[in-house]
Symmetry: C2
């Protein structure tokens, strides 16, 4: 059976912010209210990536939080993660689905309405849309307008999270637009008190939620 997941507050790790005690930081973030965790590593040895993943999975398992692996379908299989998140430069969703089978989650990054509709057709379980605001984690990403985000929300039925430069001060914009949650990197991992940062974001999301 496919794992249940809650996009409300999605923590995405960043190699530049993962130094030191990543499992400890992930635990603090979960205690603050993170509902989903995605491990993103680039240019790391596969074995090191797998070791990190297994350490983080101990934490996410303990709290019943699904762990998603960015890009690397093999790492997801090797650690029996809940699923993968695929960018537009990663393995296509249809091929990842064949490899992973029906019981793993697949998230896809969509920057346009066309990509969003295609991903839903290809069997994605959720979309990550952005970058919504200029982002420290991906400074090269072109910001997506709130208008495009709203068009995507109107065009697909699968859940949508917004990503890219989202923080406590601007998250009301995607939440009011109707996303199922927000995904953040530095707004949690770049803060001195990771747990407090996550808690504040959760409160702001709930305050901004039009249905809340």
């Amino acid at each position: 059976m496919k794992p249940q997941f809650d996009l409300t507050l999605y923590l995405v790790t960043d190699p530049r912010l993962s130094e030191g005690d990543l499992p400890g930081k992930v635990e603090q973030a979960i205690r603050g209210g993170v509902t989903l965790v995605q491990l993103r590593e680039k240019n790391t040895d596969s074995r090191k990536f797998l070791e990190t993943t297994l350490q983080v999975r101990e934490i996410t398992d303990r709290y019943g939080i699904p762990l998603i692996i960015n890009d690397r379908v093999d790492i997801a299989l090797a650690c029996d993660a809940a699923g993968v998140h695929l960018g537009q430069s990663d393995i296509p969703c249809t091929i990842a689905r064949k490899i992973l089978g029906p019981n793993k989650l697949i998230g896809v990054t969509a920057k346009t309405v066309e990509q969003a509709v295609q991903a839903e057709q290809d069997g994605a379980d959720y979309l990550g849309c952005g970058a919504l605001f200029p982002s420290g984690a991906k400074p090269e990403a072109q910001p997506m307008t709130l208008s495009t985000l709203s068009q995507i929300l109107a065009a697909v039925d699968i859940p949508v999270t917004a990503i890219g430069g989202i923080n406590a001060d601007n998250l009301h914009l995607p939440v009011e637009a109707g996303v199922n949650g927000v995904a953040v990197v530095s707004a949690i991992l770049g803060q001195p008190d990771v747990s407090a940062a996550a808690r504040k974001l959760r409160e702001k999301i709930e305050a901004a939620n039009p249905s809340g």
Copy 2:
């Protein structure tokens, strides 16, 4: 059923020598006598790696040559390659075997007798041993002595290829030591006439083979 394979002349690609028409170069190399092809890409987008792999697989399929993917078990699954080659910093052999099942080839890099024996126990189908000589493709690799290579050959029953700086002038050394074949990068892909380079290596291997 596991694909049959012949280690005699094993072409390993290198991102730095893969510019331009890689499928064309692989075809020329096969026509010159290459018996096995390993695709090695690092720091490449997964989708681009997969696209390259599918292009090369068209060639290797046409000639009945098994295609091995370096490191990336997911790319091997995505293109239904013959197998993977795993370095000591890649996913462990036992985990890769669980993901790939019994019908895919797994090669493992062994730099010591201990690693070689472990890889055989872990279910590797062949070993790549080296770097035997200083190598342009991996200048940081510590050369392995011919004595260590001989000890590995005595310690394991699975086939062994030598790798690292091997060319037409020095390949007699590992061949006389008893390897099942040699693996090369620049001795084929770095040469102006790829096909002629492969043909010359094949001739030298046959001339040096003590059982030939």
